[in-house]
């Protein structure tokens, strides 16, 4: 499958969420799916304070031509995959544009200030409206809910990857996903991950 094409070169993906949600894991899996097909991939991340409740972002640059910088230029992200809804809003400030696509998990991870009762967390409707104002297409799915039903909240990240495959024109295929996962997890866990991946694609194709 080395004649894979991307509609834009470089294609810029941002995976965002809250530290500890599995941002890094998701970006690695996604990146390796492209590496399978001989793309140049750069992932830019900053960790360190992420475990202590901070927002985290991974910038993925996908290109057929060359290696790109680990930071996406302002306003040039093509798609946001957000594991947490308000992080999607936050990312749009610096990296959004009117053509951007937004795919977000619905489950809130409330900041300490909200939990403490000092700030308000917007409703899902308000979030939807905000995202729609700053993008061209928005999908919000209950990835964590479904993952919990399947038995493990971390599967939420896999569902999001499947959903990404469903909403974008990126060359993301299930057998590449399977190849990448087989290298990193034991064979008895592959099935449930594949199920999660499929579920994600299904959820956005309704």
């Amino acid at each position: 499958m080395s004649s894979m094409k991307i509609s834009k070169d470089p294609y810029n993906i941002i995976i965002t969420g809250v530290g500890g949600q599995g941002n890094v894991l998701a970006s690695r899996i996604l990146a390796n799916m492209f590496v399978e097909n001989n793309f140049f991939v750069t992932i830019g991340e900053s960790f360190g304070a992420s475990q202590r409740g901070g927002s985290v972002m991974s910038h993925l640059r996908i290109s057929k031509e060359s290696c790109y910088s680990p930071q996406i230029p302002k306003g040039l992200a093509d798609i946001i995959v957000s594991l947490e809804p308000i992080e999607a809003i936050r990312v749009l400030l610096d990296y959004g544009n009117s053509d951007i696509k937004v795919l977000s998990n619905s489950r809130p991870v409330r900041p300490p200030g909200v939990i403490a009762g000092d700030m308000n967390y917007p409703s899902l409707d308000e979030i939807k409206i905000s995202l729609k104002e700053l993008s061209s297409d928005v999908w919000i799915i209950d990835a964590t809910e479904k993952a919990v039903e399947m038995g493990n909240p971390i599967l939420g990240n896999i569902i999001m990857l499947g959903a990404l495959a469903g909403v974008s024109d990126l060359p993301l295929y299930k057998d590449d996903f399977q190849k990448v996962m087989s290298r990193n997890i034991s064979s008895d866990k592959i099935d449930i991950n594949l199920q999660a991946y499929d579920l994600g694609s299904d959820m956005v194709n309704q």
Binding site: Y68, R90, G113, I115, E133
Partner: protein, 645 residues
Amino acid sequence: MSFLMDNTEKARYLLLGNEAIARGALEAGVNVASGYPGTPSSEIIESLSKIAKDANIYVEWSTNEKVAMEVAAAASFAGLRSMCVMKQNGVNVGSDFLLHLAGSGTRGGMVIVPCEDPGALSSVNEGESRYFAKLFEIPLLEPGDFQEVKDMTKWAFELSEKINNFVMLRSVTRFSHASGNVTYGDIIKRDINAQFKYDGFILDPMEGLPISAPVEYKHSEQQKKLKQAAEIFEKSPFNTYTGVKKPELLVITSSACNLYCKEAIQLLGAEDKVGLLKLGTTWPLPQGLLKTHLSETKKVLIVEEVLPFMEENIKVVALEMAGEIGNKIFYGKNDNTLPKVGELNPDIVTQALSKILNLKYEQRSDEYIKKAQNIVLTKAPHRELTFCPGCPHRSSYWSIHNALKLDGRKGFVCGDIGCYSLAFLPCGFSTLKTLHSMGSGTGLASGFGKLKQFGFAQSVLAVCGDSTFFHTAMPALVNAVHHKSDFTLIILDNSGTAMTGFQPHPGLKSNAMGEEVPSIDIAKICVAMGAKVRVQDPFDLENTQKQLLDLMEYKEGVKVMILRQICALSPEKKAKKKYEMSIDENKCIGENCGCNRLCTRIFRCPGLEWDAKANVARIDDVICRGCGVCADICPGKAINKKEAA
């Protein structure tokens, strides 16, 4: 077998920059790797630890960076290849040794790898180690993409052996913690027989004495080595030029800025106007190469981070050859084309280029930006940094803060480096009042504790972590005890180097390679020094506060309180909850007089949430780690803890 050891020809992997450095060292046949945990460098040692046995490498988390450098140097003197790894300011810690090592020279290839943090994404400084290369007169290498990160690490060992001196290879967060495609090279097989030869002629670099004296002689030898490197650099494939022969603007760059410059040029469509000279060898500068390119242009923009290191060095070179190449117009940091602080990114470089070349660039409408700003203000509540749920520091600082308030003498805490540094924020009740480098909290306290003769009447406390204690707090503590300084040091012992990823340190029973090793007892050391020592569990708030107040009553000498409780993120702790927590709504006083939401408003553990509709606090079972401490602070006794099954 680890992916790092894959010896398939031209294997291709997506690697973290730090993994690429580890692979480069492996390919060079590195034998010894040492370092001290520091973001963004830590994964280098961690990667090598995982393959240490299989690859026969000795990997060590040393007590501090200076010792780490000495450990690596010993290996080099014994004819082995060694690498020493740290974050940017680790070089500062070991700089005295490096000064002398540069004079004595090295034998087996030795590479120092500072991983810098422009923009201080995970630091409290954005210091630079490049100037040290110039100061120590040793070569400096800066890889400009992920492939070079690996290739240049490998080559650095070769270079070091050619000139008999150590080499500095500089990485940055945007390489070390970023990932990119890397094609593997061969793993060199070297015959090794570790032996420290010293019986030859005293001045012989390989068989004499590795000392920096006689100074003038060794110093001039050192400068000859540097000159040798400069000649090698003239032909280095790591210095590349892309662009037309006579560009309107010559951009000279290094490190991750290379990728920003490439992208900026592309975004502006300025390939015909801009020539990009990427230097991988940034000290000593390849003057011949520079002359070639400087002669072909009038305008030069130098793009680097953070300080104008290359800019100022290139300007000197350009001035010296001005007679031959003419005067140039320089753009960079000194003329404010580029910001003097913080990290760079493609946008900053694009803006600089568009200004110099008068090219328009607008990626988004002002309208979009304004709309986004308004929305983020109201719909994206800020995420404050906080301690993890179940973190012992939250409890420690609770007791420390309250003890200081009760003591009532305008007391304060001198802070140090680790997760517990966050206590200058509300999550630590704004207890820390100073924060500098590793071990400096104890040093400052030692100083404050001697100011009574000038009317100083405030209570002095200092904090440090268990790893920080061994790193540099110990000599400061000796100083304090010996000089009878009046303060209390609180050692926050959570059994690991937590902020950087929970690496081991001498207080623990295992090392970087997972072997069992003797642990060193912090309490015993402090007692041996002659301090008054107490050990306490910080989760026991009442006794911690009481003990601390008792210690603070001693007006003479050093007191040490060790607050020992394991980190909430440690593998042991993560597995099990000690308590199941619940709230009796009927007893919750909430916003009323008598409580005013103490648990959610002040204590602020993320496991406690305020339900504004029902006017009660709740436990979030998913986030709560079951430490049980909140039950002890609730004035209504509404929080219950039950031992988990």
